[in-house]
């Protein structure tokens, strides 16, 4: 056990800090509309790529740096320390899916621009009647010569409006058990028949999108993996999506907590014992999550692929973020309900679906009980 940087890690960190000092875009926090935030994210991806900070732990042959997964954690931590925009998460896990399941042709075509930020991805998994029970998805892909023809309706396609490509799950065989009839596709979002519409979240802000697929034709060589392999690909992909470290959560959390502390101080609340205790408790929960993620990252450093223990982080992440937003409401509720702090209202409503998406809290607990604790299924 050693939480200190190794020589290699320390060198990496020093270089990164120097680079961040020069490159974090000033004022990027002022981007509050979805469009502005997407623009910031895309520009930041490009900049990270130019600095050599994309795909740290990917193999060199696929455009990565071949570094230890520890560098991912350092990157997360330091971008947080420098108040940088969030790291591009989607590129990370879709890139892995391409590496693990793509053909040489697909990798050659798509990995370089994915890494460089020349193309951006969305995920076409969930549907109106397939959420937690993702395998119930109904979007059909029917083989027609050298193409598949896709019809269906996808929900919760984050960034659908800003994406060039989509990793799509669709049913290619309706006659086999539900998990076995699903295939994965790499789809150019400019294909005719794709319609993206924003989904407006509870606070009134468009945050994600739904995508309608009407007779969309996909070349057969854009199928990822074999027919029927879609479920396995999705599960692997999701396991890389689940970790809070992969999505820059911890750095954002620290920023938001620091901001709450400042607001409390400005309002003269930091002399109040209960406020002190609650802010300290939020710090503790953030540390709990950070330290748990470090242990899971250490499993990866030691060569273990992400497994069910990711459900533990997901639960901690959910609790930590939802509690932080509860704290904001409890401390500054009057400002929130009277419209003086729309940012807190936004964050509050954004914190609620964390216990729903990426496998609801109920599903995570099933996984923990049945797979980690080996409790009996009915």
């Amino acid at each position: 056990m050693d939480y200190r940087d190794s020589a290699e890690e320390a060198e990496y960190r020093a270089g990164l800090r120097a680079w961040l000092a020069d490159n974090v875009p000033p004022g990027h926090q002022n981007a509050t509309t979805q469009d502005d935030r997407a623009a910031v994210a895309h520009a930041w991806h490009k900049k990270l790529y130019e600095g050599g900070y994309i795909g740290q732990s990917w193999p060199v042959e696929w455009g990565g740096k071949g570094l230890s997964p520890a560098m991912d954690a350092i990157l997360n931590e330091e971008t947080g320390n420098f108040n940088a925009p969030p790291l591009p998460g989607t590129a990370g896990y879709i890139g892995r899916a391409l590496q693990m399941y793509g053909t040489d042709e697909q990798r050659t075509q798509l990995l370089p621009p994915t890494i460089s930020g020349d193309i951006h991805w969305c995920q076409g998994f969930s549907e109106p009647s397939a959420g937690s029970d993702l395998a119930a998805l109904r979007t059909r892909a029917v083989r027609d010569g050298d193409e598949y023809v896709v019809n269906g309706h996808k929900m919760w396609t984050s960034g659908g409006q800003y994406s060039d490509w989509c990793l799509l799950l669709a049913r290619t065989d309706p006659d086999v058990p539900k998990h076995k009839g699903i295939s994965a596709f790499l789809v150019d979002m400019r294909s005719p028949g794709i319609t993206v519409q924003p989904i407006v979240l509870a606070d009134g802000s468009p945050e994600t999108s739904e995508v309608f697929w009407d007779d969309v034709r996909i070349p057969a060589n854009q199928r990822l993996g074999d027919e029927g392999e879609g479920w396995r690909i999705a599960m692997t992909t999701v396991s890389y999506e689940r970790g809070p470290s992969d999505i820059g959560f911890i750095s954002t959390y620290r920023k938001n907590l620091a901001e709450l502390e400042e607001t409390a101080a400005k309002k003269g609340l930091t002399d109040d014992r209960e406020t002190q205790a609650r802010l300290a408790r939020a710090y503790v929960l953030g540390e709990v999550l950070r330290l748990n993620v470090l242990q899971q990252l250490s499993l990866r450093i030691s060569g273990r692929p992400p497994g069910e223990e990711g459900s533990i982080s997901k639960q901690l992440w959910t609790h930590t973020e939802q509690e932080l937003q509860h704290l904001a409401l409890d401390l500054f509720g009057a400002d929130v309900v009277t419209g003086r702090r729309p940012d807190y209202l936004h964050r509050y409503f954004m914190s609620r679906p964390i216990s729903v998406y990426g496998g609801s809290s109920q599903i995570q607990k099933n996984i923990i009980a049945q797979r980690l604790l080996e409790m009996p299924r009915k």
């Binding site: 009277t338 609620r352 679906p353």
Partner: protein, 333 residues
Amino acid sequence: MYALLNSEQLALQETVEALATAVGITNPVDLEDRDPAHAWVQLEQMGLLELRRRDGAAPIAGGVEVMVVAQALAWGLVPVPYVPSAVLATELLSLAKVSDDRVGGLLLRPDLTGLADSDGWSDALIWGGPGTSSVLALDDGARLVRHTLSQPLSGNRSVDLTQGLWDTVPGAREELGEPIPGERLDAWLALALSTISADMVGIMRRALHGAIAYSKERIAYGQPVGSFQAIQHLAAETHVTIEAAYSTVCYAAWCVDETDPAEALLAARTAKAYCASVARTATENVMQIYGGVGQTWEHPAHFYTRRALLGTLLFGDENAQLAEIARTRLGGS
């Protein structure tokens, strides 16, 4: 002793729930399509705006009837300022012995913990409807003060899409009626807290009602999600807290006109403390049962959460009530 609604009260509940279902809001489109003035007129025609006027010394109807109406209107998300205007402003005018036309709303402190005093009006917020043209506050001597607004309200600040909070606007200030004795003000505060709590119970009940109906229809893993023990227990826990909240609200509402004001205020603070401690969680549990769809603007789940958030703060959140309860029971500062 009979701690439940009697047959007349049940009939009132049924009537107002039917009205509320007809004129209330069930989705964001209704907010634009439905005219709140229409609902208000219907309430007026049914005499529901008059419940706290005095017929001699006694109000036309008691705290329990007010609770029934407030809860039913919240159940239907009827976007009218029933509580601030028809209940609390009317009651203040009655207590000050003012025979006056209807008053639109109340002037609240910026933190919503109570009526604004006459010093801090520039920061104060108006709790009322879009057509409010005058508001009430109290001066230091417990004398009612009316602020007649010189221009129409604009820019609803409220997080709750079905209740209004507005920046105050310039206007004329006048003192009204007789000073209100401290004991009567306590009873008024008890009415305020119990009615706001009743509103919260209405919200919570309707929210859970919808989620349970959804859980019986929505299929996952080949069965209704409402058949999973995790969802059943979430609903059951929520139901327990809502029914418990209702129990406290009934007593608080009854006390308003039937016990001495100190007991009424303690009962009302008890109800508000409990409702404020469970309302946010109840509406969050409802959003969780709805899953993804419950997170969207198009779905009414957030309407309930928003109204619960506002209700939690109006006239003091759980902590504020607990501090006062402790002062009553333990003495000290």
